[in-house]
């Protein structure tokens, strides 16, 4: 026994004398009146052995959750990564996350707050020298989603699962300050007898007064009918993206254009992620076209890029107005690549289309989206107060219900949002922050019954999906921070019009409340060791992280406890 203890101590001492250890612990608990309950424990453990000419590293993520805040329950190891790294070579086994170029072909992500994980379990290899980089990947990816297309929809628990085996390679060359890359990826899905082949090329160039990037992709999806006498056509899709940034003194103008036609479908099946086997894969992300808003109401109003069918333009102008104030002007416009209509006397299920030009269309039958967001940010003259103030306009058609000679009906959303935030360091002990957001939003069906060719006797109507024609939303938050240790926060959100009409009786996750209040306090034991207590309600809605969005249900009148600690 003594011998074993001695050996263990010797081994441990030897190991730790050469090993780098880091742990991050996170414990979360929530309990609400509407059964939004969860308890989760996460432990991220990093062990690495550093040598002069190589490094061995392991990262293990353990999760015990029953139920988790979002996703499926876990009990044990959630992810791991074992890696060997030296100057030129890396070899990884475990949960691999790679991004090739700017992600049009492969951008593997793990957003735990959205239960969105597109990592693959398998192998990852990288070889690089001064002028080239080769990435190779092979492994199983398992993504999951909540969709209303299938039964048992629950916004917190996925009901649609996709298992894929993917393998491929990416090679890129550095020439001066340019990077030129080529990639191919094969993705097999046994369950649906599917195989996808993706190829891409890209050029990324930096120069003194800006940068230029262009990327093209081709995707071919083939479905084998197996023993059934069904013919599944091959689905061919393409994507094109180009962006350019130019600097003029301290000002920067970024403009981008995209045309994605990976899987173009009519309005009836357009959003069916289960049946459309040619759709873009979850491991693909559009390089841009999504603005990551920092404000609550704006984030909830975000729009994801549609890789399957979208033409888009985006412009961003950034610059200083003076030494203390910066301005950001963002304009986005997009539409589908085709305009959709159902002919007179034709059954509503028969849809026809006209291809749009190279530019996004403003016609309602082409799913147009337009957003203008202007933001000022800066400090007061003594640098003690930081502020951000903005204005945002959005106009979108997100569903074409009918576009015939007799009836035109579109599901639309229009909004105007005014966000404001100020953060003030009152003295070395106290810091306060105040946030105010106002929003006017309209969403519903815009319908025109056509009676005559002159349009004089046409009847136009708007049916709101909210209990008022215009929803007026208000978000207020006040927080105070004391000595970098204590933090107190109160928030209030209200609306004049609840969303219960969105509920068709099938799903009780839609929020029918009109106001949500909360109070929370946090204590920082150390710089990365915090305990936070929360009481109150949080409004449900869209939650977006870097272009990935998911509907999150409301948290109604409950408590939350969050504890996180780093053991470095």
């Amino acid at each position: 026994m003594i011998k074993k203890v001695f050996t263990a101590i010797l081994l441990l001492t030897y190991s730790y004398s050469q090993t780098d250890v880091s742990n991050q612990l996170s414990v979360r608990y929530g309990d609400s009146k509407n059964d939004y309950n969860y308890n989760e424990v996460y432990l991220d453990t990093k062990l690495s052995l550093n040598r002069a000419d190589y490094r061995l590293e392991s990262i293990f993520t353990f999760e015990i959750s029953d139920p988790p805040e979002i996703g499926l329950k876990e009990d044990g190891l959630r992810k791991f990564l074992l890696g060997f790294y030296n100057d030129k070579f890396s070899f990884e086994v475990g949960d691999i996350y790679q991004t090739w170029g700017r992600g049009l072909l492969l951008n593997q992500l793990d957003y735990q707050n959205l239960d969105f994980d597109t990592g693959s379990r398998g192998l990852g290899l990288t070889f690089q020298d001064d002028w080239k980089t080769v990435n190779i990947i092979a492994g199983d990816a398992a993504s999951r989603k909540s969709t209303t297309v299938l039964g048992d929809y629950d916004p917190r628990v996925p009901n649609y699962f996709v298992d894929q085996f993917l393998y491929g390679a990416d090679i890129s060359f550095d020439i001066d300050k340019s990077n030129i890359g080529f990639a191919f990826l094969f993705v097999d899905e046994d369950k649906r007898n599917l195989s996808h082949t993706l190829t891409s090329a890209r050029i990324d160039k930096s120069y003194e007064n800006g940068e230029f990037f262009v990327s093209m992709i081709s995707k071919v999806s083939e479905k084998d009918s197996g023993d059934l006498e069904i013919f599944y056509p091959e689905k061919d899709g393409t994507g094109f993206y180009i962006s350019n940034t130019n600097y003029l003194k301290d000002w920067a103008l970024t403009s981008s254009y995209r045309k994605f036609t990976i899987d173009v479908n009519d309005p009836i099946i357009r959003d069916n992620i289960v049946e459309n086997y040619g759709q873009a894969l979850d491991i693909q992300r559009s390089p841009s076209g999504f603005y990551q808003h920092t404000f609550r109401l704006l984030s909830r109003n975000s729009r994801e890029v549609n890789l399957n069918d979208e033409i888009g333009l985006e412009m961003q102008l950034l610059g200083p107005i003076n030494d203390n104030v910066n301005i950001s002007v963002n304009y986005m416009k997009s539409s589908s690549s085709k305009s959709w209509y159902n002919g007179a006397g034709v059954l509503i299920g028969d849809w026809f289309n006209d291809s749009n030009s190279l530019m996004p269309s403003s016609s309602q039958e082409a799913y147009p989206f337009e957003e203008l967001f202007i933001e000022l940010s800066g400090y007061n003259t003594n640098g003690k107060a930081f502020y951000k103030v903005g204005i945002d306009f959005q106009d979108q058609v997100f569903n074409v219900l009918s576009n015939s000679a007799e009836v035109k009906s579109f599901e639309i959303t229009q909004s105007l949002t005014l966000p404001f935030l100020v953060s003030i360091a009152i003295n070395p002990l106290w810091n306060v922050e105040f946030q105010l957001e106002l929003q006017r939003l309209k969403t519903g069906f815009d319908t025109t019954i056509i009676s005559d060719v002159d349009g004089i006797n046409n009847s136009h109507s708007f049916y709101s999906l909210l209990s008022e024609e215009y929803q007026k939303n208000l978000f207020l938050a006040l927080s105070a921070n004391y000595k970098q240790k204590w933090s107190f926060n109160v928030s209030h959100e209200s609306t004049n019009s609840d969303e219960s009409l969105l509920n068709d009786g099938q799903d009780d996750s839609f929020d029918s409340a009109n106001q949500w209040n909360s109070f929370s306090m946090a204590y920082k034991f150390k710089s990365d060791h915090t305990l936070e207590l929360f009481y109150g309600s949080i409004r449900g809605g869209l939650d977006c992280t870097n272009g990935v969005c998911r509907y999150v249900q409301a948290f109604d009148d409950g408590i939350r406890i969050d504890y996180s600690r780093n053991f470095d």
């Binding site: 742990n23 044990g76 940068e211 301290d250 990551q292 990365d528």
Partner: protein, 171 residues
Amino acid sequence: MSESFIKYYGLDIVFRYLILFALIGNLFAQSNFPNNTVRLINNEKTNLHSLTSKVSFVSFWATWCIPCIKEIDKLNEFIDDYEDVSVILINEDKPGDKAKVKGFVRSRKYPIDDNYHIIFDSDQKLSRQFSAQPIPLTLILKDNEVVYRKRGFYLGDEIELKKQLDDALND
């Protein structure tokens, strides 16, 4: 990895020991800054250790993260007083937003030079290595070893950051 797979190969036992190993490891915990190959904002490839100096300031940030921007603004006000400290800002915006990040950095006049670097963490490798989410996560390194780690930022926190830099320089 399915539960049955883990149990079949007896990996559950291995994982339990790993947890134990990790927890005991806390007694000895230290964290070195890895020498990953990274890409700078001007597209050049380099190694992290070629960017660090005796004392280095590292921050994980993104253009949409308000506390991150405040922290960098305050850092830029005082970093000229710390000539021997190198700054590494690790960007966590999505890879597709590289163009926007470059424009943002330019318009904010971030003082990029031989001692002030912005790098992209496109595949989130550094973020995973340091459990960097939620950002900002700030590290102060001495001889490539993490000697201070801080999450979040409020105006006024720069006083503590300066103190930590002074301590690292004077130790």
